[in-house]
Each structure stands twice: as structure tokens, then as C-alpha cells.
């Protein structure tokens, strides 16, 4: 289904709402909101065709801060609500805003199933690795051992990597960004909007109150170049302040190498293929963690495959053209009926 084209040129002001934005000062969500308002005018979608759907949590207040159709749903249920919206009207551009508690804990089931169906929506997953709105309990993405209000002795649970779940559910699009890099966010959000199918964008977002600097190892100014790798399709996987470090595969494992050392040249560095239907390399990239590896950013996977609502409407179209039942009156008189005469 094609999104309808805008007849007039839109700007970020078309999406601004008078409401005061009630996130804490310094919260990473502000930057996401600002970036989305810059991206939407460029998607070519009419402003009345955009719908933001959310669950519960700090990030899920998002629909109240942007001038589109909005649905602030139930905890964890945004993917289910969005599925209904998109199936009902495939022309709409549907965005889901969710957090790590909302999508990985209470809504984990809906998260994997919308991805499995490949419904054409965009999921913005604000991962601050903590429950913010309920004031500081650990979440399914909180690193093991973290001290939180409900883990005074450190968490004893393993943390989810949202990308692994997305891939395990046969996701067609997964990307990761940091809230401190507006340029990266804009490029990746635009790619997510462009992708036909469920796009999952994990945003490493900072909670200034309950998990401040939780992503500092990744986003800190002094470390970010060495600790992030911004993947771009078709380009070699190079990173580092000096742009001299890269990734290659050896014995079925990824390894970090330095160009110019041990005979390594740029030709040995792996080229990122986000379009590869085989997700083996994508899995490896998603799993990379500090300190051995940089953390993968950008579009890790973007594979074109059949979209749920296209198949759905194909079936409806076929049924309408072949079935003898065109109206309810036809239905009521189909099959075994008995004319009983006086």
C-alpha cells in the first residue's frame, strides 16, 4: 500500500503541538521528538495520515506532544492497537513509541508478534534500561548486577538485547541509534519510515533521574568514536577516532582489527550488507558488546519481504472478485435453505 503523497510541502511546524512537553529537563526523549518532527515532513505522507500509538511509560507520552492522530494505549499493548489500525486502514503511516519495560516486559508478546507478521509500522523503542515513570525499578534490559530500587543487591536476571528479539521474530528491519546524535537519528528514522515492513529502531536513551549516564560508555564524547560503529549498507565496517579500526570475520567469529597492523588492509574489512536475507552476520553485529567490540549503530538489517497488510488485502480482493457472495443478502441465502410453501 502506497502512502498518499502530500499536496503541500510540510515543515516541522505542521507537527508542533501547543501542549507543554512534560519530560524531565535533560531527558533524551526531547531529542527524539525534535528529530521525528524534522523527519516527518520529509516522508511525503500527509499530516492527517500519520498516527502515533504508544503504550505506558515515560516515552509513551509521546503522542501527546506531536500534532498527529494519536493513541495512548495500555501498558505493552501498542503493537496490538497499531496492528488493528494498520489492518483497518493500510494507507496510514503508523509509528509505535515504546520503552524497554513496555515492549520487553509486559508487551513482549505483542512486540514479537507484530514483527513476525511484518506489519508495515515503525517502532521507536526508547531503551533507557530502567523503569522511569514508576520511579526506578529494573527493566528487562537493565544490565545484570545493577543496583536499582527493586534490586538493592544487584539484579540477578540476564538482560534482553532488543535486536536479538527482533531478529528471533524474523524481523525485516532493525536499527540502533543514540539519543545524543541527531544526525544519525534523522538518517535512521528516515530509513525506518522508508522500509516496507515492521521497522524496529532501538534508541539508547538516557534517563537523567534514574539511570543517568547508563549509556555513557557508548555515548560519552571521549569514547563514542571508539565504542560505536555506525554501520552503513555497502560500506566497510570501519570505526575509531583515527578511522583505522574495523571488523572482519575469522573462523565464524567477528574480530576487531587495526588497519595497517599485522598485514591488515582496508580490503580485509567486512562490507556491511543490511539487505542480506541471511541474518547470521546481523545477529553477530547486534550482539557486539564493550569492551571487546564497539556497539553497532545504524541500520543493521533492512530486508524486503512480504508485508502483512498487502497479503491481507490481496486475499480480500481475490475473494471479492471470485466469490458469489457479494452482499449479506447473498450470504443469508447461500448453502442449505428450505422453501416451505403454504
Amino acid at each position: 500500500m502506497e502512502d498518499s503523497m502530500a499536496s503541500t510541502v510540510l515543515t516541522r511546524d505542521d507537527f508542533k503541538l501547543g501542549e507543554p512537553v512534560k519530560w524531565c529537563p535533560g531527558c533524551g526523549a526531547h531529542a527524539v521528538l525534535a528529530t521525528i518532527m524534522n523527519v516527518l515532513p520529509e516522508t511525503g505522507v500527509r499530516k492527517e495520515d500519520v498516527v502515533f500509538v504508544s503504550g505506558i511509560g515515560c516515552s509513551s507520552r509521546f503522542p501527546y506532544y506531536i500534532n498527529t492522530y494519536g493513541f495512548h494505549g495500555l501498558h505493552g499493548r501498542a503493537p496490538a492497537i497499531a496492528s488493528g489500525i494498520k489492518a483497518a486502514n493500510p494507507n496510514l503511516s503508523v509509528w509505535i513509541v515504546t520503552g524497554d519495560g513496555d515492549s520487553m516486559a509486559i508487551g513482549g508478546n505483542h512486540f514479537i508478534h507484530i514483527i513476525r507478521r511484518n506489519i508495515n509500522v515503525n517502532i521507536l523503542l526508547f531503551n533507557n534500561k530502567i523503569y522511569g515513570l514508576t520511579k526506578g525499578q529494573y527493566s528487562p534490559t537493565t544490565p545484570k548486577g545493577s543496583i536499582t530500587k527493586t534490586s538493592p543487591d544487584g539484579t540477578i536476571e540476564n538482560a534482553f538485547k532488543p535486536g536479538e528479539l527482533a531478529m528471533g521474530a524474523q524481523g525485516s528491519f532493525y536499527a540502533r541509534v543514540v539519543d545524543t546524535d541527531p544526525k544519525m537519528m534523522k538518517e535512521v528514522f528516515a530509513a525506518a519510515a522508508q522500509h516496507q515492513g515492521t521497522s524496529v529502531v532501538e534508541i539508547l536513551q538516557n534517563c537523567v533521574i534514574f539511570a543517568n549516564q547508563v549509556h555513557n560508555d557508548i555515548t560519552g564524547k571521549d569514547v563514542r568514536d571508539d565504542n560505536q560503529i555506525y554501520l552503513k549498507h555497502g560500506e566497510p565496517m570501519i570505526f575509531g577516532k583515527e578511522r583505522n579500526r574495523g571488523l572482519r570475520i575469522r573462523n565464524n567469529h567477528l574480530e576487531v582489527v587495526t588497519i595497517g597492523e599485522n598485514g591488515v588492509t582496508e580490503r580485509d574489512i567486512m562490507i556491511h550488507n543490511a539487505l542480506n536475507p541471511d541474518d547470521t552476520a546481523h545477529y553477530m553485529l547486534v550482539r557486539m558488546t564493550l569492551p571487546e567490540f564497539p556497539v553497532a549503530m545504524g541500520v543493521v538489517r533492512a530486508v524486503e519481504t512480504t508485508v502483512y497488510e498487502s497479503l491481507l488485502y490481496d486475499q480480500i480482493k481475490h475473494a471479492k472478485s471470485t466469490s458469489k457472495i457479494k452482499k449479506v443478502d447473498d450470504l443469508l441465502r447461500s448453502g442449505n435453505v428450505f422453501q416451505i410453501d403454504k
Binding site: E48, A80, G84, A319, K326, I340
Partner: protein, 619 residues
């Protein structure tokens, strides 16, 4: 050649088919029902099957049954007890003897009445030789062996013999009830239209059964049930679940909307999802959700986007949908929740009937969370009440819970097919594109509904959600007085529906000694019981409620015409409690049954007589 047996004219007859769950009793039952409908009998059916797909063969737990009640007069229930029982094995006989009339005809497959089967069924004595069947007409037919012989004779695959022995039974019944075999053949041709070998085998066995009955003259009499006198027009036999699905489609067409059903499979509601998934040619979308919660949430999303949205479930699913129903109450979006009730709590009795979800439907949510609650009362009128539920949801912009039950859902009756042009109009309260005066919570004073602005409409961008909203503007609001206003308005909106539903009907006189009150699926049994007692000249009337919240506006007047009120329901008194809270000035006696079984005419009759007798003795 056998001499012509005596033909006895019957007003009505109840036939029960019982066998292992693989014996094809549901199919034979449906075939016999359709044939009866074809010749103009009124009818009501009720299948009774175990929750296991193939419970151990030959055991009581594995018995699958199908009861059909056909009549020359109006038939309102599948009948308390059978005049004819087909028992394919000893377990089927043992499980059903208590539901059989004294002196009934028992057709048994003698080939399965051996020590091995007696043991499986738990018989200590051989029931055929311990005098326990004295007084019954027992037809000992070698059904299994004669079916195998027939299949062999026609050179067909012996493997299908055991799948066709139900047709031997059908043949016997066609002879017994003087039915035209051609109707049975047509049924089989339609049923197995893609498998010509099966059609051939089944028809051969059907004839074999008929000829067997005629040749050995299994009974000295055969029966004839005349067509219903004043019944003419186009009819079909329809189950409650099918009627529910079709009623929703009819409402969608009438409203100019397309249907969306978001559901998770659950017994005994799954047929609604299955039926609608076949009807994409009418634009219906079925979304088989990952769980009950996603079922309702996807429906709420579809409603927001402008579809006629429905979710179907049973009691355990309704529990999971509570939060979603609350969201629909808060966002004031139209949605129909169909609850096909079964025995509870928890998993309870998945395939058995009960009316235990009334309180859950009325009150099972956090906060003050009013929605319309209504109930269908016969398999066929599930069509009308599904239609009405959708109409009220859309026009009043509110969730509606429609209660059905396992008995209505799986049972069937003859239904006169309506024309779409004769159904009520449905007018969705759409907001107009670019309406400068649109506010999400601005209301139409007539119904107190807000207006339906759908994504894609220019000039109406707005936000809804589960947080309390300010009156009119729909901004998020934590203002204390605003919350009071909104809570009261949501309740008032639902109460206002009373102005848009019919008055409560009384069957019988408007004044008298006793009013028998029921709701939903107990209609047929109460109706028959009350009618019988009225024929004795006693002052009894009945009121069967289809609208529960709100109650019809003449309810007080209806109840005030009687000295005593008896509320009959398949639970421990949920409707009685509700009436006590709504209309506390009356005294309510109760008749309650929770056995996973429908109400029987005889037990209601007995209870009514008890109440009437105690009233006489008090005087």
C-alpha cells in the same frame, strides 16, 4: 417383502444420536435436522461433545451426542428427554439412559455390545440381559457388520466402512420417520462434494440402513411429524455462532462500514472467528491475535481507524480483555465484545453451558467502567442481537458486551431468512472533515456520544488514550471536578440507551400470581414450562431479558404486576442480585442450576408449581 407398518402421527419428537467422538454423530444429527427442516418441521438442536478431540474410544468420557427436537408445533428447546436414542456403543447407552423417556426407542449397534465394550463403559451387568431395558423398544441392529458388508459389496475401500456406519443409522431413521432418502443423498453430495468416493459409499450405506429397517421391520410402527401449519417462506437451520457472525456482517453492511474481528481461538466461540474468516468477499478482516488481549486491542485500533470492530471470546478470555474494555470505555470508541459463556471459573467446563459471566460483564473492570450489556436468547436471534449490539455500539460510541452461551452457540434452530432492506438503519456519528468546531469529547446531547473522527480525515487530528480526558477538549486532565463529570457522563451515556431499546415484553398476562424471569439462553425452556402451566389455568407469566444494562425502561412496571417473581438462571443468582440492586422494592425468588447443562422444561415447571403451591398455602 415387509407389510406396511402402522404410521403414528406425532406432534413432536426428540431424537438423540450418541457414539464415540469419531462415529459421525454430529454429522448424522445435522443431516436428520436439515431433512426435517426441508419437509417443514420446526426444530431445535443441541450438540453435546467432550472437550477432548478423541477421548478414549468406548468410554463414557468419549461419548459425543447430538440431540434434535422436531415438531409440528413451534419448538423452542432441543427437548428435555429423547423419544429415540441411537447408541453406537455401551458407553453411549450408559451415558444417555437418564436423558431418555420411559418406553423410548433405543437403536443400538449390537456389534459393539460385547464384554470388552461393557468393561470400557463401566457396566458390571450386561444391560441387554439384566432387565434394565424392560419397557423400552430396543432395536438391536448389527450396524458395524452390515456397513462393512455393504462397503465390500460395492467394492469400496473397507477403511471407510467405520466412517460411514453413521449413514446406516441415518437410513434406519429415514425409514422410521418416513423421510425421503433423496434429501439425505443431497446432503451427502453437498457435504462431500470434493470426494466422489465418499459420496458413493455414504449413499450406499444410507440405502442399506433404510432397506434393513424396512425388510426386518425394526418396529411395528413408523412415525410422521407434519409440517408446521403457519410456517412458510424461506428458512435455514442456523447455529448461534453462525447467526452471531452473520448479524455482525449485516450490521457492518447497514452502517456502511467494513467489519474487523480481532480474536483468539477459544471454545465455544471459535466458530465466529472461523465463519468470518471465510467471508472476505464481504470485506471482513479477521485478525487471529497472539492472545485475548491483542484480540481486543487490535479491535480498538481498528475502531479508532473507522471499522466496525468486534472481538469474540468466552469467559476466561473476557477476564483477559477487562483492561481493554476499560480502554474502550475511556476512549469512547465503538466495539462489540461477544462472550460465548461456558462453565467456569478458570478453564472450568470448556464445552458446557453456563450463565456465570453476567457479573463479570457488568462489573469486571477497574474504576467506574460502564458498558452496554445484552444477551441473545435463541440460536437464531443471535443474528438480531449481534446486529443490535453493533448498532448500539456505533451510534452511542461505546463498548457493548453481547452474552451468548455454549447452548446457543452450538445449538441450532429453523430461521426465517430476513431481507437486509427490512433491518433497522445504522447511522455512525462521523465527524465532518475540517470541522472547525470538532473537539474529541464534544457530545451529541441526544445520545451523549462523542463524534467519530478517523485518522486520514483532514482537519481532525486529535489524541485519545487511557488517561482521563477533559470534558469537550479531550486534553489530559487530572482535575478533580472534571473526573467527577466524566465518570457521571459515561454512566449517563449508557443509561440513555434505555430510550433507544424496546420495552420489556411480558409473555402472558400483565398481572398475575407469578412472573418467571430469565435472561439470555434459557428462553426456550422457560417459555415451554410457563406455557404448559398457563394451559392449566394458573396465573403465571414470563419476562425474558435481552437488555441487561441498561434495563428496559418499563422494567419496574413489568415486575410490579405480580405477587411473586422467580428468577431462573444458570448460575447462583447473578441476575437476581443485579435486579435486587437496581429494583430493590421487589422480592425475588430464585431457581439456579450450575451443572454445565441447559435448563430443562421439567425442572422449571416443577419449581414454578412449588412456588405457586407455597403461595396458596400461605393464603
Amino acid at each position: 417383502m415387509a407389510k406396511n407398518p402402522k404410521v403414528v402421527e406425532l406432534e413432536e419428537v426428540v431424537v438423540k444420536f450418541a457414539g464415540d467422538s469419531g462415529d459421525g454423530m454430529q454429522l448424522t444429527g445435522t443431516q436428520f435436522s436439515d431433512t426435517s427442516a426441508f419437509v417443514g418441521n420446526d426444530l431445535s438442536t443441541f450438540p453435546d461433545y467432550p472437550s477432548e478431540i478423541r477421548a478414549p474410544q468406548g468410554t463414557i468420557a468419549g461419548v459425543s451426542g447430538f440431540q434434535v427436537h422436531i415438531g409440528h408445533r413451534e419448538v423452542t428447546t432441543p427437548g428435555d428427554q429423547a423419544d429415540v436414542l441411537v447408541a453406537m456403543n455401551p458407553a453411549a447407552l450408559k451415558a444417555n439412559m437418564k436423558w431418555v423417556k420411559q418406553g423410548a426407542t433405543l437403536i443400538i449397534d449390537i456389534d459393539n455390545f460385547d464384554n470388552k465394550h461393557y468393561k470400557k463403559a463401566g457396566y458390571i451387568e450386561d444391560p441387554l440381559h439384566d432387565n434394565s431395558l424392560d419397557g423400552y423398544n430396543v432395536v438391536k441392529a448389527p450396524i458395524t457388520n452390515l456397513t462393512r458388508d455393504t462397503i465390500k459389496q460395492y467394492g469400496l475401500d473397507l477403511k471407510i466402512a467405520d466412517k460411514t456406519k453413521n449413514q446406516f443409522v441415518a437410513g434406519i431413521l429415514y425409514w422410521l420417520f418416513n423421510r425421503d432418502l433423496k434429501i439425505g443423498e443431497d446432503f451427502l453430495k453437498q457435504k462431500f462434494r470434493s470426494k466422489p468416493d465418499l459420496v458413493k459409499a455414504n449413499i450406499a450405506v444410507l440405502h442399506a440402513g433404510y432397506n434393513y429397517a424396512e425388510t426386518i421391520e425394526v418396529l411395528s410402527t413408523t412415525f410422521h411429524v407434519h409440517p408446521v401449519k403457519d410456517k412458510h417462506g424461506l428458512f435455514r437451520n442456523i447455529t448461534g455462532n453462525q447467526a452471531t457472525a452473520w448479524g455482525l456482517l449485516a450490521a457492518a453492511e447497514k452502517a456502511g462500514l467494513e467489519l474487523f474481528l480481532g480474536s483468539y481461538p477459544i471454545t465455544p466461540a471459535s466458530e465466529i472467528l472461523q465463519e468470518l474468516s471465510k467471508l472476505k468477499s464481504l470485506g471482513a478482516i479477521t485478525f487471529q491475535a497472539e492472545d485475548e488481549i491483542a484480540g481486543i486491542c487490535s479491535s480498538i485500533g481498528a475502531s479508532f481507524a473507522g471499522r466496525l470492530a468486534v472481538t469474540s471470546t468466552s469467559g476466561p478470555g473476557l477476564a483477559l480483555k477487562s483492561e481493554g474494555i476499560g480502554l474502550a470505555v475511556m476512549t469512547e470508541l465503538p466495539i462489540v465484545i461477544v462472550d460465548v459463556q461456558r462453565g467456569g471459573p478458570a478453564t472450568g467446563l470448556p464445552t458446557k453451558t453456563e450463565q456465570g459471566d453476567l457479573m463479570q460483564a457488568l462489573y469486571g473492570r477497574n474504576g467506574e467502567s460502564p458498558c452496554i450489556v445484552m444477551a441473545a436468547s435463541s440460536p437464531a436471534n443471535c443474528f438480531n442481537f449481534a446486529f443490535k449490539a453493533a448498532k448500539l455500539a456505533v451510534e452511542h460510541m461505546t463498548p457493548v458486551i453481547l452474552l451468548s452461551d455454549s447452548y446457543l452457540a452450538n445449538g441450532s434452530e429453523l430461521w426465517e431468512i430476513p431481507f437486509m432492506k427490512d433491518l433497522e438503519e445504522i447511522h455512525p456519528p462521523f465527524a465532518e472533515d475540517n470541522d472547525p468546531n470538532y473537539y474529541p469529547y464534544l457530545r451529541d446531547p441526544k445520545r451523549l456520544n462523542r463524534f467519530w473522527a478517523r485518522p486520514g480525515q483532514p482537519g481532525l487530528r486529535h489524541r485519545v488514550g487511557g488517561l482521563e480526558k477533559a470534558d469537550v477538549t479531550g486534553e489530559v486532565s487530572h482535575d478533580p471536578m472534571n473526573h467527577q463529570i466524566m465518570v457521571e457522563t459515561r454512566e449517563a451515556k449508557v443509561q440513555k440507551v434505555a430510550e433507544f431499546i424496546p420495552d420489556q415484553e411480558i409473555i402472558g398476562d400483565k398481572k398475575g400470581d407469578l412472573l418467571v424471569v430469565g435472561w439470555g439462553g434459557t428462553y426456550g425452556a422457560i417459555f415451554s414450562a410457563v406455557n404448559t402451566i398457563r394451559e392449566q389455568g394458573r396465573k403465571v407469566s414470563m419476562a425474558q431479558f435481552n437488555y441487561i444494562k441498561p434495563l428496559p425502561k418499563n422494567t419496574r412496571e413489568v415486575l410490579s404486576g405480580f405477587k411473586k417473581i422467580l428468577v431462573c438462571e444458570l448460575n447462583l443468582g447473578q441476575f437476581a442480585s443485579y435486579l435486587r440492586s437496581q429494583l430493590p422494592e421487589f422480592n425475588y425468588a430464585q431457581f439456579n442450576k450450575v451443572q454445565g447443562l441447559p435448563m430443562f422444561i421439567s425442572e422449571i415447571k416443577q419449581k414454578i408449581e412449588e412456588v405457586l403451591d407455597s403461595m396458596n398455602s400461605e393464603q
